[in-house]
Symmetry: C2
Subunit: 386 residues, 2 copies
């Protein structure tokens, strides 16, 4: 099956055909914070009267945060804005006492208990050097009960385009804003119609995946098998991730056998890690290395017992995102890639892994690789064939 979503959107084809080169450089920017805010408040969060909705962002996302605050108020919700200054996390990890890193305050847990839904707005910043990965992993472990509570409520993660994000993607800010807008369907008159089409196509993929038990991923320096029989495949249609375009499940925790190479760069807590190689035995990481950021990788594996086990197998379906932008929210959706996350499972998949960590790592099969279901090729060279 081929699932080239964007090429099949007739309105966009017509729109693009109408452009000549000169007009292209004169068109208004596709990214509109108000349209983004409206999509988040209505489609993603389904914000209703009286709901206490926590929005976390750095001040780099102010235009979006302001528009969202108004959109949530107008819907009768109770927005709770949690703005951070850029670099606040870095300051925290540099200066926090051991007590702060290791002990959770009742007040921080209570804050999440009284929250109906959360939205985290990513604002890509330049990688922070010198932040201690061990201190970060300790604190992630401390915050585990908050993460646990958050995962039991409605939640969504999105991104507000920043200068640093554009740099990481190798684009100008204007190009990056357009890229972000297209990935979220903000260039369509009704973005929710685009997401409805995604949901429909992914349902077809899930029909086949749900009948499978053994998954084998073969690619460059990669030969890994996993079992997924009895687990539930989720249809990620832009409600929890904006943008989205993936189907995912929680593999059986003790099933992973073999080795995998993650070709796309990733990051954890703002620190770049790339060229990751993992080896699994009975589901557990028994060997790990990274070309960049190996200390971060090794510290993360020590977060807790669940950090060495997989919590997610995801398959990207968004062929509208073609190039990696060094941001996991977008990169893991690239059509033709698969991602495997170390750490916490999503309970709705039937996954049982508990961890404070959830770290997605991406394996690109587009250059030549296969994903097989019970011995039958489902995807080859990044294209669905099953």
């Amino acid at each position: 099956m081929n699932c080239v979503l964007f090429k099949q959107r007739p309105d966009q084809t017509v729109f693009k055909a109408g452009l000549c080169a000169e007009m292209s450089s004169m068109t208004a920017p596709l990214y509109d914070p108000m349209k983004h805010a409206e999509l988040l408040a209505s489609y993603c969060l389904d914000a209703g009267a009286g709901q206490r909705i926590q929005v976390t962002a750095t001040t780099l996302a102010l235009p979006l945060v302001e528009a969202l605050h108004r959109a949530l108020l107008i819907r009768g919700a109770r927005p709770v804005l949690r703005l951070e200054y850029p670099g606040q996390q870095g300051d925290f990890y540099r200066h926090a006492s051991a007590e702060l890193l290791d002990s959770l305050h009742t007040g921080d847990l209570a804050d999440m208990e009284y929250t109906d839904a959360t939205l985290r707005i990513l604002t890509p910043q330049d990688a922070v050097q010198g932040s201690d990965p061990e201190r970060r992993a300790r604190h992630t472990r401390t915050l585990s009960p908050v993460a646990q509570l958050r995962s039991q409520r409605r939640w969504c993660v999105t991104l507000s385009p920043t200068e640093a994000g554009a740099r990481a993607a190798g684009m100008t800010l204007a190009e990056y804003q357009d890229f972000v807008a297209r990935a979220m369907f903000l260039d369509l008159p009704d973005p929710t119609a685009g997401w409805a089409a995604v949901r429909e196509r992914q349902a077809t993929l899930i029909e086949r995946l749900s009948r499978a038990d053994m998954v084998q991923i073969v690619g460059p320096e990669t030969d890994l098998t996993l079992r997924v029989g009895g687990r539930v495949w989720a249809n990620s249609d832009g409600k929890r991730n904006m943008p989205s375009g993936e189907v995912f499940t929680g593999p059986i925790e003790t099933s992973a056998e073999g080795h995998i190479y993650y070709g796309l760069p990733t990051s954890v807590g703002g620190q770049a890690v790339s060229g990751i190689r993992l080896e699994f035995r009975a589901g557990r990481v028994v060997s790990a290395s990274a070309e960049v950021g190996q200390d971060v990788l090794l510290a993360s594996l020590e977060t807790d017992a669940g950090a060495r086990f997989l919590g997610e197998l995801g398959i990207g379906t968004n062929y509208g995102i073609q190039t990696p932008s060094r941001n996991i929210l977008f990169d893991e959706k690239i059509g033709g890639t698969v991602h495997l996350a170390l750490g916490r499972s999503y309970p709705e998949t039937g996954g049982l892994n508990l961890s404070a960590l959830h770290w997605d790592m991406i394996c690109d099969l587009r250059g030549g690789g296969t994903l097989s279901l019970d011995g039958e090729v489902f995807q080859a060279g990044g294209v669905f064939v099953g």
Copy 2:
């Protein structure tokens, strides 16, 4: 008694004597956010290990907020930053549903319950037009339990200089930053030494005030009597207000008789109100008018039962602040002025008034007026003589 604090600070005299006119225009700005943050974390908040300290500010105060976050972390405290975007309050009052205005969420109360100390950083903004005073008063009433809890913990209010603040004060930003720095003693090598001197001199004033019962204020369009016998006078030495320089008490709630004209402009919730005239009978406001913002005044008086009674009588002692800057934190400290607040008392003064409102209004006695204690003149024309 004359309490001209600044003229008596020898280090400043020496410093100033060393300056010639050319050097003066070349000197570095007096306002340093890091020095301000250090004073707040150590002297004002006395932040200690593990204390959960909530800092509220708009993003206009970012340099101060960042420095403070680091200073609090270094002292082992748990900073909880509550950043707002400029105009967030205005958006809230414009768009919030009736349910939001009228009902307090348990989560917002819990947040304050788990807080050891609060710091509010004022960031003067241009007055917001069109915000409905009645909606604001309703919400202030709703937040009353939070305000009540906050007042029972350690708290401090300070100000970060902004462009709008400078405009309101009729200064350039650079002049305003210097004005703010001087009022907080940030121009001294050790600001806490300056505040120790304030405390000492104010103790002498309190010695006399504590023996008084009947206070009479006579000035332009003003003749008001109050009783304070048995109440406690507080020595405001910069711990709760930075800057400070005032002594205050809670007058006996039913004692105010007469009328008063507040010559200095004031504001409530960012809305300018000036030329206020109040008439009191048995402690209660029976007649009220304002030359500007009368609707705001009348709506505030309806906040709750306590809003028509006085909660504070304060006497400014800071002769380093000579000119009003249209900001209550500074204006009420002006040496030679008295202020009377409608609404909530400070419990430590023995004041009993309960209200969601606490609105300071300033009466300038420097142009010719007296404050007498049991018939004996204590202050005349703005100078302490008692």
